[in-house]
């Protein structure tokens, strides 16, 4: 039961999230929150030209949201903004149906989420915040 959702890899990401903490000199940033369960997350980016050079996050969120943010920030580093948009779209499909086109292996740890509709928002929040950050230059 829980194990379908809280897979071991996911729990590692949630207990020891990567890219967690403030980013110095971000070029783009946004806050996201899920009023329904209390997840609060902030994503900060450094975009060089058209490439996401750095991505970090802070906040207080549930295991699914934290793990999703941890994996996400790892995956998007080095991608062009267009590629990130495409990936975000494909990830949405994964959350909806449990499969998605051309997804990096690491994201598949979140494929179980689609069976738990009330947790889909948790996994999606970091990505929504990321997309919103890409459109929000700092300062």
């Amino acid at each position: 039961m829980d194990n379908e959702l809280y897979q071991a890899v996911l729990m590692q990401h949630s207990k020891q999230p990567r890219n967690f903490g403030p980013l110095e000199n971000p070029t783009h940033a946004a806050d996201g929150h899920n009023a329904l369960c209390g997840d609060e997350i902030s994503v900060a980016l450094r975009i060089d030209g058209n490439t996401v050079a750095e991505a970090k996050f802070t906040g207080s969120a549930c295991a699914i949201c934290t793990a999703s943010a941890s994996i996400m920030t790892g995956e998007v580093k080095g991608l062009t903004c267009d590629a990130v948009q495409t990936l975000a779209g494909n990830f949405r499909a994964l959350l909806k149906d449990g499969t998605g086109p051309e997804l990096p292996k690491k994201l598949e740890v979140l494929s179980g989420v689609h069976q738990f509709p009330q947790r889909v928002k948790c996994a999606a929040l970091p990505w929504e915040t990321l997309v919103s950050a890409m459109q929000s230059p700092v300062g």
Binding site: M11, K15, C37, G38, C62
Partner: protein, 408 residues
Amino acid sequence: MASNLSEIRGQFPFLKETVNGHPLIYLDSAASSQKPARVIGRMSRFMESEYANVHRGIHLLSERATAAYENARTSVAKLLNAPREEEVVFTRGTTESVNLVANTWGRENIKPGDTILLTEMEHHSNLLPWLKLARDADANVEFVPVLENGVALDLDSARRLLAKGPKLFAFVHIPNTLGLENPAADLCAWASASGTTTFVDGAQSVGHQPVDVQEMGCDFLACSSHKMCGPSGIGALWGRHEILSAMPPWQYGGEMVDRAYYDKPATYREPPARFEAGTPPILEAAGWAEAIAFLNDTGLEAIREHSVSLANAAVQQLQKIDGLRIFGPVARQAGLVTFSIEGVHAHDVAFFANERGLALRAGHHCAQPLMRMLGSPSSSRASFYLYNQPSDVDALVAILHEAVAFFR
């Protein structure tokens, strides 16, 4: 109540449900309570043989429906020990009751520069309508502070702030977060001494313990049927007759009007009709009256004792969990416990608990400013009611231990 607990539990069909093979343990009554078979049965029978629109009918079903609807008003009036039954206005629930008063009494009485006094422990429903009113009326808002960790309302401050004579003091009788009861009678007495009108949010207290508006000395009180074994879709506003009579209508439509014209202002009926525009929650009134009869039969004092003792037992055991923080006083005054666990997010706790049959609430409990101030934007809440039993507390504790081991 301990003696007939199994009999009471036998009256609640939801207890037959299971989750992953685990019996369902419902610790979310503060959000909404479950319904006993007699309420369910009453509503079925009502729809089978007593239903019609109320008030204007001169036929059998309309008479039956009107009688049931007005008898429900009498039941609510008695439950609150209201001096007159016309003082009970049916609304959708506590939220609508607050909005009604803010938009009628509020708009007529709150003037620029006036002060509305609230507390820091209000549910959004007894906070946002007043903030909106204050903005529109150019009035000030002040808050009675909450003591460290939410153990109590700061009564010294309350007294001091009330002595300044605010126009209105709206406060929650029993907050849905802290496991405490505010001393409503004292607060109302201090308010009256300053000519302050009082509005009491009784959503969590009415139907959970004896509540007497005359003893309390308030001017308005709001409550919801769904929190006390009755159906959703109905609640009440109680208001003193002189005050209600002087209030303009809020919603306009059928039933609340006396004479209507195309080209001149209508005249309106006396309360409560004036505030019940359109077809009211008829079926719901019949169900609520049955719920009140059920609660009276069980005994409101016994229900309070039962729920509070379960909450106290929970506090005792939860305190032993490392990194678990309980909001509110150690000695519970109301049947609920809100807590946060270091390193384990409330959303995960609730999910994990549900997989084991335990229904908890996670989030801000519609009290964002309070929970933010207490440093915990998301927390878990276990709330107890007459159908809970001591072993529910044990299950809660066991599952939380497991969750800590799993997530931390």
